[in-house]
Symmetry: C2
Subunit: 228 residues, 2 copies
Amino acid sequence: MSEPSDTKPFIQQRNLVDQVADYLTQAIIQRRYVPGERLSEVSLAGDLGISRAPVREAARLLESRGLLVSRPRRGFFVRALEARELGDIFDLRLALERHAIEHLVKHYDTEVEKRLSRQVERMCEIADSGADEGARIEEDLRFHRLMFEATGNHRLLRAFEDLSHELRLCIALIGKTHEAPDSIAGSHWWLLEALKSGDARSCRKAIDYHIGVARDYVIQGVHEAQVR
Amino acid sequence: MSEPSDTKPFIQQRNLVDQVADYLTQAIIQRRYVPGERLSEVSLAGDLGISRAPVREAARLLESRGLLVSRPRRGFFVRALEARELGDIFDLRLALERHAIEHLVKHYDTEVEKRLSRQVERMCEIADSGADEGARIEEDLRFHRLMFEATGNHRLLRAFEDLSHELRLCIALIGKTHEAPDSIAGSHWWLLEALKSGDARSCRKAIDYHIGVARDYVIQGVHEAQVR
DNA sequence: CGATTGCCGACTGTCGACAGTTTTTCTTCT
DNA sequence: AGAAGAAAAACTGTCGACAGTCGGCAATCG
């Protein structure tokens, strides 16, 4: 019996490293750790009731995702994003999203459009139901993830997922909701409209506007959070 | 002051993790490990005269760079690139390079142009001197790295550097030089010409052609290497 | 003779410990 | 009292060890 090439991840017993990584990620984006704060391996391992080895590996993982930074012989610190880096992040995001939507409009697929459409509906429902911002952000990222998935370029998708972690960090810096109820959810219809139009120029305009709004929202939010 | 001739046989002084990472990277791109080959932590640690802990951390680092893949409870394996992934990698590279050159032509800087120009001269010299392919590839990547550096977007630069490791892996898959002496080095003049012209459309055309040539070179090279 | 099951070696995941370094605290001198 | 310096505490980098797990091999069963 040959192994199925798919190799689905059954109910794989989660190793400690992944669990710690998830725990830390949640703790960081829930602002239970202040940006710049030092993470003590020993105390963290002690709190979780495990040894330092898995903690160190998880920290390395988060470092590669941009959530932590390490200084030799000093340990790990929660990444503190400078205002300038916010622009960099969204500029890279723009490059990736432009590429993705350009691909999608060139290889138009009605099935893809349907999937994206369903996701926007879901986002609007969630916005109406008054879910917390975290859930709405996740659904928002999910929409864009679907776009990258639809390009069929796994490496491009990975680049976006790497960036996603930092996007969540940006959101975490802002803190509580400012405004933007379901208008953000609804704004994704514009992207779909541009896609359906089949016009590359419209798509580029739409995505530039979309990401620009998101960037301004985050940058202003962080600015206000710093003044506070 | 420590003893000059220490008992440690191999590496010392710097971070063991970084040293192991460099060692492994070199070993992989020099094809001392076959793609798909399993890396034994114990034997590797034994060969280097160190314990498994730094080896594991280095392996995790290379995994985040796409040089290794890990399977739970099975260990680390040298990444075996599928033909399809080659296309994905160069497609992502195209997205990044388009964005970079678009930025450079929009914010034209004579100092940047001078630096890039010097680098191309250096590449041509090295090509004439008949250096090995590894050195030429590095200088090639260095040119593009300079481009990304010049954008001032650190995150974009990091995305390119992440991709660079995989690009080196692609080159490693090909093996020995096929052709392409200094023509590759010289082809970068076209990019500079487009930049100097100040025309965004010319730049895009130039970078599309440039990356397209590189992609075809790698894809065909890998194809031939597989037939062999 | 082919398929199944139990055993064996090898390896990873995790742990506790030690040494060197960094940070903090406490002392001492001006 | 404040600053410089020394001792102490805390922490990271690294190590060796142990237990659970995986793949392969052989004995067993149909």
